[in-house]
């Protein structure tokens, strides 16, 4: 920090961070509090809302059967599509490459609530009922750009001569990719996959339109419970999501550059 930085800067930054983190801290505190009302600060410490969460059929289903499953499949598909796309974009020169890159990142530019509405109307036109698959397809659309971004960053930071050297030593292009490039891409690939999972796992805007009664994702479940004035089981479910996402972001920060992801 340069000399003469105003003394108020640090306290100001501290206050902004408090405001930024306050809702998460409060939710976590409520999930451990004994009161049925959303009470903060909590008057005691209990795990009863976590017990209630695991006893609730609808919460368990939406957490483990829907959100977790969709998140994992969406991350796997996004990683496949995105890695192939990023390699094609970075390692080849062709007409319209930049336009294609913009197109590939377009899902980040379209407001999610509008994409959700558009996909809903699209499925309605095709008379496809809402299911785990309709939601999954929507999630792959919004997850893949994150994989493309991180794998592109990984590829750009890598020396293409390594691959060329492998090929001049007799490896085919495919062998060079799988034996040299892919292992070097490991951390950017994993970061992309993790972010893809997080995006799917925490998405609400698409899920509001695309999840049906049999495929209610966890955020939608929380959303409707809030509207129906549920009990702190909502907070317990939220705390679990916060913990999972916090842990995953920590991993990304360790193995890759977090800033490139957002």
């Amino acid at each position: 920090m340069s000399r003469g930085t105003p003394r108020l800067l640090l306290p100001f930054v501290g206050l902004v961070y408090i405001g930024l983190l306050a809702p998460l801290v409060v939710v976590i505190a409520v999930s451990f509090g004994p009161s049925v009302a959303f009470e903060f600060p909590p008057s005691g410490l209990t795990l009863r809302w976590f017990a209630a969460f695991f006893a609730s059929q609808s919460f368990v289903t939406s957490f483990f059967r829907i959100s977790l499953v969709i998140g994992l499949i969406a991350a796997a598909l996004a990683t496949l599509l995105g890695t192939a796309g990023a390699v094609g974009l970075v390692r080849f020169r062709f007409f319209g490459r930049e336009a294609l890159e913009t197109f590939f990142l377009a899902p980040l530019l379209v407001p999610q609530i509008l994409l959700g509405a558009a996909l809903y109307l699209f499925y309605a036109r095709l008379a496809m009922p809402a299911s785990i698959w309709t939601l999954l397809c929507g999630h792959v659309v919004i997850c893949t750009p994150f994989v493309i971004r991180s794998v592109t960053a990984g590829l750009v930071g890598m020396d293409p001569r390594l691959e060329e050297a492998a090929m001049s030593l007799g490896a085919t292009r495919l062998q060079a990719f799988f034996k040299v490039t892919l292992p070097l891409l490991r951390s950017s690939l994993l970061s992309g996959a993790i972010f893809a999972f997080i995006i799917s796992f925490s998405d609400i805007n698409l899920a509001l339109f695309l999840s049906g009664p049999q495929s209610t994702s966890l955020p939608v479940q929380i959303f409707s419970q809030i509207q129906w004035q549920g009990d702190p089981t909502i907070a317990a479910a939220s705390t679990l999501q916060i913990l999972i996402i916090g842990l995953l972001i920590l991993i990304v920060q360790r193995i890759f550059r977090l800033r490139l992801m957002v």
Partner: protein, 302 residues
Amino acid sequence: MAIDPASAIKSVAPVEVSHRVRARPTWTLLTGPYALFLLVLLIVPFANVAVFSVHPYSPTHVALSGLTLDNYAKLFDLYYLRLFGRTARLGLITTVICVLLGYPLAYWLARARPRLQRLGLFLLIMPLMVSAVIRIFGWIVILGRKGLVNQALFALGLEPVKFLYTETAVVIGLVNILLPFMVLPLMAAIERIPPSLEEAARNLGANWLQMFRRTIMPLSLPGLISGCLLVFAESISAFVTPALIGNPRERMAGQQIYDMVLVSFNWPGASSLALTLVLLTLLLLFAALFATRRAGRLERGA
């Protein structure tokens, strides 16, 4: 003359030639699947929205055929003009507050020691990735009738204030969710400003505030512009925040679309509104992209 190993490898290996010959089929194979996927699940759905938007609407029939511009004409009704006005106003207020809170934070992050910067970035990005519903749920607890804020007011001997289901609550929620979108581009822009420039300004007698205004602000302008456009674009299509803690009688555009699609089944009306909003957002975001690209070029001295 120094020999560049890169050019040495390239001139010897026949790789270049062979991959140019095979280039076309390979890149289409690689980029094709996702391109196709986006075509079917992004382009076609919005084309479908465009088609819906020129269909006539009847409360009794779901999809009528026919061609009309009524759905766009309706967007000029007083009801919609007020909806747009309210949405834009809340978006602007949110953007201004994000600038005021985000600039100092971005400056601090950009100039922080690496270890502190890592922590700061984690604490900025982690809440961003948690579902918006959860963060808004937190605000319901904080701002509620017996919430943290009202407890504090009560302790001070003041009357409780109704925060929830007001525009104030919506702005608080939106600022909380969108602040990182302001801080990250600003921080990137400030990091590119050499600290020696700050020193120079200080040595020439500027106090910190003058230095910030005359050095940091003009040089980080592209970051500021792209941050503002991002925050504004995100806030005008907000749904979860106004739906959970806003006044139900004073809706924002995102809520209107949600209701028209899922509650009143006015798909043509929802489509014209959605298409207008998408085009507006894309316009704003391409402006942001242009601002940062141009800044990049300027930096390279072009």
